[in-house]
Amino acid sequence: MDAILQDLRYALRGLARSPGFAIAVVATLALGIGANTTMFGVLDTLLLKPPARVRDPGRVARVYFNRNFGEGVTFTGASTSFPSYESLKDATGFSATAAWFDGQLSLGHGAEAKSIKVRGVTASYFPLLGVGPVLGRSFSAADDKLGAEPVAIVSHRYWLRSMGGESGVLQRSLPIGRHSYAIVGVAPEGFSGADLEEPDVWLPLRTATPDLNDVEALTSRNWFWVRALVRLASGRTLAAAEASATLAERRAASASDRRRDTSTSVVLGPIQEARGPRMSGDAKVALWVGAVALMVLLVACANVGNLLLSRGLRRRREMAIRAGLGAGRGRLVRQLLVESLVLAIGGGAAALLVAMWGGAAVRAFLLPGLPASATLLQTRVLVFTAAVATLTGLLAGVVPAWQASRTDVAESLRGGGRDVTATRGRLRSALVATQMTLTLVLLVGAGLFVHSLRNAQSLDYGLDLDHVLEASVDAQSAGVSRTDSPGGPSDPQSALYLRLLEAIRANPAVSSAAASVGEPYGWSHSTDLRVSGRDSLPHLSSGGPYFNAVTAGFFATTGTRIVRGRGITEADQVRGASPVAVVGQTFARLVWPGRGPIGQCLYVNGNDSTCVQVVGVAQDTRARGVTEAQTLMYYIPFGQHLVTPPINGLLIRTRGPARLADAEVQRALQRAEPNLPYVSVRSLAEAVAPQWRSWRLGATMFTAFGLLALAIAALGLYAVTAYGVTQRTQEIGVRIALGAQRPHVVRLVVTQAARATAIGAAVGLVIALGLGRAVVALLFDVKPVDGISVLGAVATLLAVSGVAAFFPARRAARIDPMEALRYE
């Protein structure tokens, strides 16, 4: 123990005498360990840690349903019908079952309306998870009935932030949707149920169904809208419980309708959703980012290993003296490992600071849906950091320590402090090359995803993403409901939207507006369609044909070009006017190949006697998805009563950029009608942004970590080259004395650095091309062997490496030969 304390004392003193070295190592390790600490926190939250406050989470399971859709197609999903959930109670093996639904509802009406996140839960939800409110009471069975007095439990966060933590909260009510919900409880702090995201308010599921959905949803087996949780009974195994639940589900399905498919099976998964049969997109992304962060840590380890190797060589004399004084190899290795562990612990402590910043960056740029708790520094994260720091210290330090302890005592003492064996440091060069390899892989990855993102963003979407807003309101909360008559102006929901349309057209920030039944990147509608002269319609992978019923001015508002004929006018919307349609370019090309579409007839919604005449062809849009360039799409005027869906949204063209006008438009719409629930307004750019998410994510992730690795590798190359110059000072002095010019000296120094860089880049290129093939499905319109990405990455690496090697080379060229020959 005394010997270890001695080693510790000497390590601290030695590092204090070399502050530059210590800072370089600690900073390098902080970046590498910090990146991994950040990602561990995220992965821990998504995959490992159970949700907060849940009692005995190992006995709680999420319920999934594996359904057969015919022709060998099966799908496993969590959503199911309410009757299907209720059939779980007939299964043996569960001590409790619960269901829930997440939604967004309007809080209040009129100008003060806000949007809040609600979670409808059965009365059994809180008891199943073993959680009770900190104030008030939980839901009772009497609360969770259709028609019961509406009650609510607010989340702790909502209670503090939006209600000021008021003590009289249990006497308050909240106007949510169409009802006023009396607050009966406050959930515990940090409790988010079985999910990671905490809602604002918890509502009894059955009571709140009229606000959340249609009442029919409680009895229909075709309406998949709730998710289910179960708690395994004591002594029951997962497999037995699954089998019993499957039997119960099939019995219930058969009893409801003999024709119904009864091959559905129940699958139970862990309470952590990301570990279930359908790993979330966020979890997949987090795993990718974690793997990339690990690569950065390896670069950091290689870098630090090099720095320690160089330091070990500088201390050959000291190690030789110690060996000459009786130190065994084990003792020398231990002394050096203590030093590298001290550095690693320093790096680990600094890594926590990096993780605090990194967590915010991850949430901002990579995983915006992540809860804040995922990036907090909790005990598990601290333990992880300590473990990684220790392993890093050992990994980075063991080879340099072993090398340093292999000193030839007599040779080292004879040569004084200089590395007289003049080894060219094959190991150091290998470590530099390794860093370059990993860095190039990350840079090529960055290039591929940046290229994909730019390809996706530069497409012609057929829509003016930057000048168009889409607005929608929750019709149920507005107290309007659909009628059974085909959609038209008299439909209450459509009538509401038409009134909002008139109001917003008068707003000075708006240049035009239109209403539509379908919305870009939202719901698509399809109905029976026949074309004269054809037995069948073309089949595309995007499905369809799809229709959208729109008001006049739709195409001018969205920025979709009419390439032939005309668009839809006010005259077309009048009841009794000749039915007309505008078709998309792909529709026209495939349905009437080689013929003009203008004047052709469509027969819509089974109405075989009414010819809906094609009057125009509109540009194809990517309104269903970025990757769907070709869709069978047609537009009909709203008001011709050809189809039944009501208007579901407005499209509003702003005079300036849409993102600057959205707040004003939202306020204007909110004021337009009395007691209007919250109106949701967003630009088309915001609507399409989720489509770009995976490429943006890849681009951000690989670029950020690639640049980090590049910085670390450049630092390492500089340090190794600078050390080499120091070791060869006498040799360089002799060369200069013999007539070598500056360019010769620079070439001498840079060649060695360039060799390691070139080898690393070559190996990295091979690996990157291989990995490129593996991720080609994740790219957009980019080949795995993408010349631009590869050339860009290689050029960046060589340029930065050149700069890193230049400064030591310049120093070498300025060596005074007389000083150098006295150097010892």
Binding site: R13, I321, G326, A327, V409, A410, L413
Partner: protein, 220 residues
């Protein structure tokens, strides 16, 4: 104490062999003060390094305190060296990052001497060499003579049976050198066997006999 028979050391130089020591036969009795002399490149320092078991690349026979060193493993040689031999280098080779006191402590620490005992021995050695006032100083704060004094102190702190000194006064002024040689004489008188390498006839006169080396051969 020491017996060398047909000791040889050579380097491979591009296929040929360059001999540094040739058929060295050499005996040292306990308590002797032997001087090895010869021109530069004769192999003196190499011979000293072999005697001190700091160099293991040689052939021949070497017996030290009746142990056949040529038959021992590296670990066994290190143990032998650690317990019985102290080395004084021309360039002092003190550890720059350690104080005088810590430099003296290091050999005892490597011999697993308990802390309290080490402290006592170091204190005694500092007193013996009259460098107590300098115990907290670092080597770069000492003069050359003081550094060599500390180096000699370090060499004897573990009470070795044999001291090997390679040009111990090579970097010192004559008065400092005299001081060091007087110290060696005193240690020898107390029973420590000393083998020194030197160019100096004056230094050689402190010893009992001289062994001459020329081009790796012992010459009479």
């Amino acid at each position: 104490m020491i017996t060398l028979r047909n000791l040889e050391k050579c380097y491979d130089t591009g296929g040929a062999k360059t001999f540094v020591l040739r058929q060295v036969n050499f005996d040292v009795a306990p308590g002797e003060f032997v001087t090895i002399m010869g021109p530069s490149g004769a192999g003196k320092s190499t011979l000293l390094a072999i005697l001190g078991m700091l160099d293991g690349q040689w052939t021949g026979e070497y017996e030290f305190l009746s142990e056949a060193v040529h038959k021992l493993s590296v670990k066994q040689r290190n143990e032998l060296h650690k317990h019985y031999i102290g080395f004084v280098f021309q360039q002092y080779h003190l550890i720059d990052g350690l104080t005088v006191e810590e430099n003296l402590d290091i050999p005892l620490s490597y011999r697993n001497v308990p802390k309290k005992e080490r402290q006592a021995i170091v204190a005694d050695t500092l007193d013996r060499f009259q460098i107590v006032a300098k115990k907290k100083l670092f080597p770069n704060q000492l003069s050359g003579g003081q550094q060599q004094l500390v180096a000699v102190a370090r060499a004897i702190v573990a009470s070795p049976k044999l001291i090997l000194a390679d040009e111990p006064t090579g970097n010192l002024h004559s008065s400092q050198g005299r001081e060091i040689m007087e110290l060696f004489k005193k240690l020898n008188a107390q029973g420590t066997t000393i083998i020194q390498v030197t160019h100096s006839e004056v230094n050689a006169s402190y010893g009992d006999r001289v062994v001459n080396l020329l081009d790796g051969w012992i010459v009479k």
